[in-house]
C-alpha cells in the first residue's frame, strides 16, 4: 500500500484537505489518518475512509497547529516517516504574513534542502494568503450557505467577483472577506470548526478542480503535488 503524508498549518486546512483528498481519491481507495500535534506530540484526531486493510493508499494528514513551521516539523520527522513507510510527503505552507511580492522567493526557499534521501520525496506547496482565497473563488458554494448569496449579490456586497477576480492575488485577507459576505446574511466566518466545516461541506469540488484551479496558481500547484503522490 502506498503511504503519503500531508502536513498542514492549521484547522482550516486540516478539514479542507481531508475532504479534498476524499473527493480526489474517490470512494473506497484511501484510508485517511488525521492527526494533530500538541507540544510536539501527535494525537489521533480521527480515522476516515476505507479500512486500512482494504485501502490502496494510506494518507496521514497532520495538523501542525501553527506550533512552528510545517517544513521544520516534516524534516524533524523525516526518519520516522521513512521508518513507517511513507514515500511521498507534502507540506502545505501559508505565505502569510509575508507579502505577495515574496511569493516566488519564498516558494524557492521552501523547496531548498529537502531532497537528500531517495526513500522519501518531500515537497512543499505554498498556499498564497489563506485557504479561504480558494473558497472565495468557488462560486457555487455561496447559495448552499444561504439562498440569498447569489453571485450578483456577492459581487455587490464584497466588491469582488468570484468568477473573475483571483482572490489569492486580489484579496489581502480572504477569511475577513468571507466573513463579510456571510455576515451580510446574518451568518459569519470566524474560523470556528463548525464554520469551516459548513464551508468545506458546501464547496463544489469539481468546480475547485477545474475553474478555481485555472484561476489559482497556488491551488493548481498543490493539486498537482497530490496527483503526483497518487491521490487521484
Amino acid at each position: 500500500m502506498k503511504k503519503v503524508a500531508v502536513f498542514v498549518e492549521g484547522w482550516t486546512e486540516f478539514f479542507f484537505v481531508a475532504r479534498l483528498i476524499e473527493e480526489m481519491a474517490g470512494f473506497g481507495r484511501v484510508h485517511l489518518r488525521m492527526e494533530h500535534q500538541h507540544g510536539g506530540t501527535p494525537h489521533l484526531y480521527r480515522k476516515v475512509g476505507a479500512p486500512e486493510e482494504a485501502a490502496e493508499i494510506e494518507v496521514l494528514l497532520m495538523n501542525c497547529c501553527g506550533d512552528g513551521k510545517v517544513k521544520s516539523y516534516i524534516l524533524e520527522r523525516r526518519q520516522l516517516l521513512i521508518n513507517r513507510g511513507y514515500s511521498f510527503v507534502i507540506g502545505l505552507q501559508d505565505l502569510f504574513p509575508k507579502p505577495l511580492g515574496d511569493w516566488e522567493k519564498f516558494e524557492a526557499g521552501l523547496n531548498q534542502d529537502l531532497d537528500d534521501d531517495p526513500r522519501v520525496k518531500i515537497v512543499m506547496a505554498l498556499q498564497v494568503m489563506e485557504a479561504e482565497a480558494w473558497f472565495l473563488n468557488e462560486s457555487k458554494h455561496y447559495e448552499k450557505i444561504h439562498p440569498r448569496l447569489t453571485i450578483p449579490y456577492v459581487k455587490a456586497v464584497a466588491e469582488f467577483d468570484p468568477l473573475s477576480d483571483p482572490a489569492e492575488t486580489k484579496v489581502p485577507h480572504p477569511a475577513k472577506l468571507l466573513d463579510r459576505i456571510y455576515k451580510s446574511v446574518d451568518l459569519g466566518y470566524a474560523k470556528r470548526e463548525s464554520e469551516v466545516r459548513r464551508t468545506v461541506d458546501a464547496l463544489d469540488y469539481e468546480e475547485l478542480f477545474v475553474t478555481v484551479r485555472a484561476m489559482s496558481k497556488s491551488l493548481s500547484g498543490f493539486l498537482s503535488q497530490l496527483e503526483t503522490a497518487g491521490i487521484c
Binding site: G39, S72, F106, A108
Partner: protein, 395 residues
C-alpha cells in the same frame, strides 16, 4: 539610558583568556547559544559593569567597553564607557568616558586623570585610589554631572537568574519605625526578594498592582483570585515575624504560599511581581508622560522559562516582551529553549558562538543577509540556531 553595545575580555595573554566580541543589544534581545557558549557569562559581564559604575561592588578584573544611547529631547546622545582592570587584581589600568565622541574623563594606571568640568568645560585633574573608579568617586551633580545617567543605569539594572530560587526562601518583615509608604523602591537590590517587593509596592499602589499580577498569572495559565501576604508560622527574626507571599488559586480555598509553590510557578509569579513593580514605580516618578526608552531600569533575565512547561514559558516570554515594549523597558533574556526561540522573532536574537576562548555574536545588524535569507526557507527559528545556519558565511 539604553545599553546598545558591549564587548569584554579578561585575562588577556593568559591561558584563561576569554573574550566576547562587540555585540549589539536592542530594546528586546534574546541571547541564545549552546551550553557553555557564554550566555550567562555575558549577562554577568553586563551585571558586573552595572554594579561597578554605580558603586555597588569593587572593581573586578576584566576589560569592558559599553556603548549607550540616551534620548535627549528629539536628539540621541551617545555615551561610551571603557574600563580595564588588571587580571587577578582590583587595580584599574585605564578608564575613560565619552559623550558624543567628546572625551569627558580619562584616567591612567596611576589613578591620575581628568574629568571635564560642566561649567567651564575645562579639565579638572584628579588622582583617585588605584582600586576605585573615577566615574564613581568623582561623580558630582554640580561639577561633573556627566556620570549621572551611567550611574542611574547601573544602579537600576535588575538581573534575575530565572533558574535559581529567585527568592523563594526570602521573606519580608515590617521593621519598627518603617515608613508606611516609600516614594521610590530600588528594585535592583531586591531581585531575590519578591515578598519584600510586593509588600512595598502594594503599600503604595494597592489593587492596581495586585490586578496587574493577577492578570499576568491568568495569561500564564495560573488563574488566581488574590495575592496575599501572611505571617510565616513559627518564625521570628529579632522579635519580628517574617511575612511570605501567597496566591489564592481559583480551584482552592486556602492560599498557596511561596514555599509550597512549584519552582516553575514561583519563578513565573516572582517575575510578574518584579516586572509590574518596576513599571509602576518608574511611572510614578514620571507622572504626566509616557516612559521613554531607558527611563525604567534595564531588565536582564538569565535562562528565562527554565522550569516552566512549554506553553507557560512561551506565554511568559510573550507577556514580558509585551510589557517591555509597551513601557519602553530594555529587556535582555537568555535561553536555549526551542519553544521560546521559535516564538521570539529573529530580529531580537543575539546568537553566541564560542570557539576556544573567543565568543562571537551573530545578530540582525552584523549578519543581516543571513538572517533575512533564512526567513525564506520556511523553517523554525530554532533551526537557524541548531543547524548553525548563522555560520554559513563563516564556513
Amino acid at each position: 539610558m539604553q545599553l546598545t553595545n558591549i564587548s569584554y575580555q579578561e585575562n588577556k595573554g593568559l591561558p584563561s583568556h576569554w573574550r566576547v566580541e562587540r555585540l549589539t543589544l536592542g530594546g528586546i534581545s534574546l541571547v541564545v547559544g549552546k551550553n557553555s557558549s557564554g550566555k550567562t557569562r555575558l549577562l554577568n559581564v553586563i551585571d558586573n559593569i552595572a554594579k561597578m559604575v554605580s558603586g555597588r561592588i569593587f572593581a573586578t578584573s576584566g576589560e569592558w567597553k559599553a556603548n549607550f544611547e540616551r534620548r535627549k529631547g528629539q536628539a540621541l546622545e551617545h555615551q561610551e564607557y571603557s574600563l580595564n582592570v588588571a587580571a587577578g587584581t582590583r587595580l584599574v589600568v585605564e578608564e575613560s568616558f565619552e559623550i558624543n565622541h567628546q572625551r569627558i574623563m580619562h584616567r591612567q594606571e596611576s589613578g591620575a586623570g581628568f574629568v571635564l568640568k560642566k561649567s567651564s568645560k575645562s579639565r579638572v585633574q584628579y588622582k583617585v585610589p588605584q582600586d576605585q573608579l573615577m566615574a564613581v568617586v568623582r561623580r558630582d551633580e554640580i561639577q561633573h554631572p556627566y556620570f549621572d545617567h551611567l550611574h542611574r543605569w547601573g544602579a537600576g539594572l535588575c538581573y534575575y537568574r530565572f533558574g535559581s530560587e529567585l527568592g523563594k526562601n526570602s521573606f519580608t518583615a515590617l521593621a519598627p519605625n518603617e515608613p508606611t509608604q516609600d516614594s521610590n523602591l530600588l528594585l535592583a537590590g531586591l531581585v531575590d526578594n519578591a515578598a519584600h517587593v510586593y509588600r512595598k509596592t502594594f503599600d503604595r499602589f494597592k489593587d492596581v498592582y495586585k490586578s496587574l499580577i493577577l492578570d499576568d498569572l491568568q495569561t500564564l495559565g495560573f488563574p488566581c483570585s488574590d495575592v496575599v501576604l501572611a505571617f510565616t508560622p513559627g518564625l521570628i527574626f529579632n522579635g519580628i515575624p517574617p511575612m511570605q507571599l501567597g496566591v489564592m488559586e481559583k480551584d482552592r480555598t486556602w492560599p498557596t504560599y511561596q514555599g509550597e509553590m512549584s519552582q516553575g510557578m514561583y519563578r513565573a509569579f516572582a517575575i510578574c511581581v518584579q516586572m509590574n513593580a518596576n513599571i509602576l514605580w518608574e511611572k510614578s516618578l514620571r507622572v504626566g508622560r509616557e516612559l521613554a526608552l531607558g527611563d525604567a531600569p534595564m531588565v536582564v533575565i538569565d535562562d528565562i522559562g527554565e522550569g516552566l512547561d512549554y506553553t507557560r514559558s512561551k506565554a511568559l516570554v510573550r507577556c514580558l516582551i509585551e510589557k517591555a515594549t509597551e513601557n519602553n523597558i530594555q529587556l535582555v533574556m537568555s535561553s536555549n529553549d526551542r519553544f521560546i526561540m521559535n516564538d521570539v522573532p529573529l530580529e531580537n536574537w543575539v546568537i553566541l558562538h564560542r570557539e576556544g576562548s573567543e565568543v562571537r555574536a551573530f545578530d540582525y545588524q552584523n549578519s543581516k543577509e543571513l538572517f533575512e535569507e533564512f526567513q525564506y526557507l520556511g523553517l523554525n527559528n530554532f533551526d537557524f540556531f541548531s543547524g548553525e545556519l548563522f555560520l554559513r558565511n563563516s564556513k
